[in-house]
């Protein structure tokens, strides 16, 4: 498939601080790519570089097969949606949508047509003559998306567009953005720190840390085969349980626990040595089911957090805290004994020092 955006050996430093280092990224035509990471990881910086709002220190940016490294933002064929919406407050919604086009010398008829089309897609037609101050947060963000839409561009850039909205609206607009992507088929790059947004929206997720991409893969692959301990910890809620120990002859030894590793999908081949073993709370079986698992342990329930759909348990296993996700209908009280178990193919092993997947 054709590449829509290519980032080649991108470096960016502010003085002595290196924000992005030798970063390479290919985004396919029509792909929805999410840049995910905690604050300060460089994800918004990267987006600003792609938009041309920041000068890069080295490397190239290609959009739609053209080298746009030195192009002005408006000439790159992109539209951008900001966290604070960045609507022009003194103009009506129509004014906001048409200002850039007017400035680019687009004919009046064409502007009207594009604005109406965008308004229709985003269902903001009744709002066209209002000022941004008279709109709700969700409506404002829709207008902001509309401003990108009227530009008739191939690439949409979203910079944490839903962060300023409350939880309910965020979920609604998330669905709308996904729908919009399905309708338009544009390439979209979406920056967020919210893993749910990332998992639900993305074709591929790029998890960033310290200016580098930790892993770039489809949501499921990231969830099932995290490339390193950072990614494993970042994705999933509650976080993956980790045991510190050693791989020795097909077993993982951690204190008095010996976890058989038969069935684990090794990255290269089995290696002995110090390592982390991670297992997600939702992959730990409890009660009768646990009896069928290759690894079993007896635990005591310490803490119960009912969420309705699920219940989260913090259990004590040989002196360690282990989080377990069980069905929400199970009645269980702190202090109760519980059998736990899991299969090695669900576990994740990471090398002790460089924390890469084994």
């Amino acid at each position: 498939m054709e590449h829509s955006i290519e980032i080649k050996h991108l470096d960016l430093s502010f003085g002595a601080v290196k924000v992005l280092q030798d970063l390479n990224l290919d985004v396919k035509q029509g792909e929805f790519l999410v840049l995910l990471g905690s604050s300060g990881c460089g994800k918004s910086t990267l987006l600003n570089c792609i938009a041309g709002l920041l000068d890069v220190t080295d490397g190239q940016i290609w959009i739609g097969g053209e080298n746009v490294t030195w192009e002005e933002p408006s000439k790159r064929g992109i539209g951008m949606v900001f966290q604070s919406y960045a609507l022009y407050p003194q103009m009506t919604v129509r004014g906001n949508l048409s200002f850039g086009l007017k400035n680019a010398g687009v004919s009046k008829a064409e502007i009207a047509e594009r604005v109406n089309r965008a308004a229709q897609v985003l269902q903001i037609e009744p709002l066209l003559d209002r000022k941004p101050s008279a709109l709700s947060g969700g409506q404002r963000q829709r207008v902001a998306i509309g401003r990108a839409l009227v530009r008739d561009v191939d690439v949409f850039l979203f910079d944490e567009p839903l962060s300023n909205l409350d939880a309910k609206l965020r979920a609604d607009l998330r669905v709308e953005i996904k729908q919009l992507h399905a309708t338009l088929g544009n390439t979209m790059i979406y920056v967020t720190h919210d893993q749910i947004e990332a998992m639900t929206l993305a074709d591929r997720i790029a998890i960033m840390k310290g200016g580098a991409v930790m892993q770039l893969d489809a949501p499921n692959a990231i969830y099932n085969r995290p490339a390193n301990k950072y990614v494993a910890e970042f994705i999933g809620s509650p976080t993956m349980n980790f045991f510190e120990g050693e791989v020795q002859g097909g077993n993982f030894l951690s204190g008095e626990l010996a976890i058989p590793l038969e069935g684990y999908a090794w990255q290269g081949g089995a290696v002995d040595g110090a390592a982390w073993l991670g297992i997600r709370p939702e992959h730990i079986a409890s009660g009768e089911v646990a009896a069928h698992k290759p690894f079993q342990a007896e635990a005591t329930v310490e803490l119960v957090e009912p969420l309705g759909s699920d219940t989260l348990l913090r259990c004590d296993v040989a002196g360690r805290h282990v989080w377990v996700r069980i069905d929400g209908q199970t009645e269980i009280a702190p202090g109760a004994p519980l059998s736990l178990g899991f299969s090695p193919e669900r576990a994740h092993l990471f090398e002790k020092t460089n924390e890469t997947r084994l």
Partner: protein, 296 residues
């Protein structure tokens, strides 16, 4: 919170004690003093205030005096020029300083330092700079332009512009600072959005940024305006109101009649006119600033 609870003189007694100076100032000095002056402007007080009311006589005399009319005309010229030039220059300088330039602090420090000076100091420096025998005029003539004429302080027709130069020198830094604070308050993403939209910088300023910092413009305008009405020290130091009465202003007229001309009634009437002028500026502003909020 506290205000909603049962009241009594002794509730919050410490807070009330702490507020006594404010209450006295507000009631006795500001309200009482203003009313007193307005009332006595209708008397024919001379050396001492007295209660012989003469209606609008003082005002008729005031507007019939050439000196007062000159003072008003000067204030209007000075005021109009001051507002326009200090807003325009102040904004342009602020916009230049907002371009992520080097030495921003140095430039800002230089542009603002005159504001720290007394009007007396400003007036005397510019009196010296505009001195026709030694100042700018003589220096330029010495360079070979013999016919160069620039002696505003000795030319009754343009003396007020000489004062204006000094006033702008002292006051523009403040306007620049206020505007810069306003510009810094603009969401950076607005600038990014405008760049993505391909809007040139000057258009972004005119169509987006200036409308956004309109409140800053209005507040600045009020500050400049209330400073203009008070214009006194600068005139005293720079021209002493001269040549003749050519650079007189209302505040000086008031002072001279009250404390030197022994004609209190004239002073009261003139100061009441100044109050009126300020109210004309303040009331619409207060209405916009505080009264208008409910509707938005």
């Amino acid at each position: 919170m506290a205000a909603a609870r049962p009241l009594g003189l002794f509730r919050n007694i410490n807070a009330k004690i702490a507020a006594i100076p404010m209450v006295l100032t507000a009631l006795v000095v500001f309200t009482g003093g203003t009313i007193w002056t307005v009332v006595y402007s209708f008397t024919n007080s001379k050396l001492l205030p007295r209660e012989k009311f003469v209606g609008f006589q003082q005002y008729e005399r005031l507007w019939g005096t050439e000196r007062w009319n000159v003072a008003i005309e000067n204030l209007l010229i000075y005021g109009a020029c001051m507002v326009v030039f200090s807003l325009v220059i102040g904004f342009v300088l602020a916009a230049l300083l907002d371009q992520k330039i080097r030495f921003e602090n140095t430039f800002r420090t230089i542009l603002l330092y005159p504001f720290a000076l007394s009007f007396i100091v400003t007036g005397l420096v510019w009196q010296w700079l505009l001195n026709p025998d030694f100042g700018i005029q003589s220096v330029i003539r010495a360079l070979g332009w013999e016919s160069f004429d620039f002696d505003p302080l000795y030319n009754a027709d343009i003396v007020i512009y000489g004062v204006l130069i000094a006033g702008l020198w002292q006051g523009t830094g403040l306007v620049m600072c206020l505007m810069l604070a306003g510009l810094r308050g603009i969401d950076q993403e607005i600038w990014k959005a405008a760049r993505v939209d391909g809007i040139p910088m000057w258009k972004t300023y005119i169509f987006i940024v200036i409308p956004m910092i309109r409140p800053v413009f209005i507040t600045t305008l009020v500050i400049i305006a209330s400073g203009i009405v008070r214009l006194y020290d600068l005139i005293v130091a720079q021209t002493g109101g001269g040549p003749g009465i050519a650079s007189d202003v209302p505040a000086k007229y008031v002072y001279d009649y009250m404390f030197q001309g022994q004609n209190l009634g004239q002073g009261f009437a003139a100061s009441t006119m100044m109050l009126l002028a300020v109210l004309v500026v303040i009331i619409p502003w207060a209405y916009l600033e505080f009264g208008g909020k409910k509707r938005v």
